[in-house]
């Protein structure tokens, strides 16, 4: 490590604090807001001092909120469950389909493989609306409309190319000789794939899976267009607090907090894969 002067360390510290403030402030503010009633939220000037209430969370969890105007029925936990189901299901399917395909593209340069890989990747960048609308027609016809399976299929639009592209890079980075050695030692290609390629690309697969999960979790439009209310994710559910009888700001905040929490927990858990895992593989040249 090179010698770092005191001034530089000071400047770095200040910069780091600024960065943390910029990125954390909105989150902190929303968390604070989630413990307030509409009344204290709307107070001028805004203040950090208030009597915290857990009524917003209680309302979200019990699914009922009594306001003066009406009793709102909220199904936020269901939204949360849908988000988990859709994201986990989509990422699992994308891994199941994408990892072997990525392996094929990386290891077996076959005719047209480069073109197919690129075409698959370009789907990631097709405007979702473009396919979504005709898709809703076809889904209607083949009975996939308003099913989790149909939704998970459409989510592949986000997940599959991402996983394919990143994981392929990891497989390419594994020396073919290592796999050859295992084959020559008497193992089938499948056992080589399972025992050598998969473990060695493990961190990359984890990182790609995590990224895909985040993108799936944050998706908004697929379920909205393709499914009924009982299959909507949190991103749609969080809008439910805007009604003619008033906006429940505190609950919006609590909903946002609850919707970030699972991905955050996952990220905390898998953080080392994310940073360390991405340092190999596709991202690398």
């Amino acid at each position: 490590m090179q010698h770092v002067s005191l001034i530089e360390r000071l400047l770095r510290g200040v910069a780091l604090i600024l960065v943390v403030v910029f990125f954390m402030f909105p989150i902190v503010w929303i968390v604070l807001m989630s413990f307030q009633t509409n009344e204290t939220i709307l107070r001028v000037p805004p203040s950090f001092i208030f009597e915290p209430t857990i009524s917003n969370y209680k309302a979200l969890i019990t699914g009922k909120l009594e306001t003066s105007a009406a009793s709102l029925e909220i199904n936020f936990l269901r939204n949360l469950g849908n988000s988990v189901l859709l994201s986990v299901g989509s990422v699992a399917l994308a891994l199941l389909l994408g990892v072997p395909a990525a392996y094929a593209f990386a290891r077996h340069k076959f005719k047209g493989s480069e073109d197919i890989a690129f075409t698959l990747l370009s789907f990631r960048f097709a405007p979702p609306l473009l396919v979504l609308l005709p898709l809703s027609l076809y889904f209607q016809k083949i009975g996939l409309a308003d099913t989790y399976i149909g939704l998970i299929w459409v989510y592949q639009l986000i997940c599959l190319p991402l996983i394919l592209w990143i994981v392929r890079g990891y497989f390419e980075d594994i020396s073919p000789d290592i796999e050859n050695a295992y084959r020559i030692a008497g193992h089938s290609w499948f056992s080589t794939f399972r025992k050598i390629a998969l473990p060695l690309a493990g961190p990359g697969i984890a990182a790609a899976g995590l990224l895909a999960f985040i993108f799936a979790w944050n998706n908004f439009i697929f379920a909205l267009v393709l499914a009924s209310a009982d299959k909507q994710p949190v991103t749609v559910g969080a809008l439910a607090f805007v009604t003619a009888s008033g906006i429940q700001y505190g609950q919006i905040a609590a909903a946002i907090v609850l919707s970030i929490a699972p991905t955050l927990a996952l990220a905390l858990y898998a953080q080392r894969y994310l940073v360390e895992g991405l340092s190999l593989g596709a991202v690398k040249g």
């Binding site: 929303i30 944050n218 940073v275 340092s279």
Partner: protein, 318 residues
């Protein structure tokens, strides 16, 4: 050196006779890659069919509210764009938005990654913290910023007023709307770039830096001569992913301003969304999206060619 006595026991060889040798499995070697990639391809083809349907729509005069007037008009929807100032505004603001967000996020992301480069407890903790915005759905992040920039109780408006800027209208004024949505975009996506670049920085070999330090190369020069070139593949990947997403931005802009005020932020997807869902003008909506797709295809093509070249070169050196 002592010679080893050859005490190794003679054991049964693994495979001796030709007759015992197994043939290849039921999947032949040539078919294997196709078999492996087929399921993924099938799933994608399912998504390809609607894509071509959309191409078909884009060549039609097609409004859901006027089903009787539906007809093929071939390239007319596209030709109309040439003389449609709204389209050019859309193109301009989409590109501007993409360039602004990606440019700023790259700079900021790189700066933060450099700050966090050294592995330490504090840096690791901070890098986890910074993932939080990325975990926030853009639609919800936009909602958060809407609350924070509310003129009545929004904390950001309040803080600005405290420092004397009491007429800052965020998404409500054409002068500041772009700034506001770009701010949200930066907040959400800078961590994405930061994490990719941080991964890149941490995987760089240390020898060139040690050598440079021994040679007394100033750190600024080290950065431009060593760090930046070696980081290029990472920067390209991050830029590609972000650029293509950014040019298609919908969630943030739609939630913040619905494309307003005026026509300030009518980017492609917002315009196409409104065209479909409000005007039910399917033909124009599909044509807009096709143009957007063509742009993204073009950009990704260039990027990926460069990326593959860099990759090959890196392989060659390795």
């Amino acid at each position: 050196m002592r010679a080893y006595p050859l005490t190794y026991k003679k054991l049964t060889p693994v495979s001796t006779t030709a007759s015992k040798r197994k043939r290849s499995g039921f999947i032949s070697r040539a078919a294997l890659p196709y078999v492996l990639s087929l399921p993924a391809l099938l799933v994608c083809i399912g998504i390809l069919i609607p894509f071509f349907t959309a191409v078909f729509y884009s060549l039609q005069r097609y409004r859901l509210s006027q089903p009787w007037a539906r007809e093929m008009n071939w390239g007319e929807n596209y030709l109309n764009f040439l003389t449609d100032p709204g389209f050019w505004a859309t193109l301009e603001v989409s590109l501007l938005y993409a360039v602004l967000t990606v440019g700023l996020e790259l700079l900021l992301g790189l700066a933060i990654a450099l700050l966090l480069q050294r592995r330490s407890r504090v840096n690791n903790f901070v890098s986890i913290m910074l993932l939080m915005p990325l975990m926030t759905a853009p639609a919800l992040a936009a909602l958060m910023f809407k609350l924070m920039t509310n003129q009545g109780f929004g904390i950001l408006s309040y803080l600005l007023a405290l420092v004397g800027v009491d007429d800052f209208r965020w998404g409500s004024s054409p002068d500041t709307a772009l700034f506001t949505v770009v701010l949200v975009d930066i907040w959400v996506y800078t961590p994405f770039i930061m994490i990719l670049l941080l991964a890149g920085l941490r995987s760089l070999p240390t020898q060139p830096f040690e050598a440079a330090a021994l040679d007394g190369v100033p750190r600024i020069q080290q950065f431009f001569r060593i760090t930046l070139p070696m980081l290029t593949p990472y920067i390209l990947t991050a830029a590609l992913f972000r650029l293509l997403e950014s040019i298609q931005q919908f969630d943030i802009i739609y939630a913040m301003t619905q494309g307003g005020p005026g026509d300030t932020l009518t980017v492609f997807q917002v315009e196409a969304y409104l065209n479909f869902f409000q005007s039910t003008n399917v033909g124009r909506s599909a044509a807009l999206l096709m143009i957007l797709w063509a742009i993204t295809f073009f950009i990704s093509n260039i990027f990926i060619k460069n990326w593959l070249r860099l990759r090959e070169r890196a392989r060659g050196e390795a």
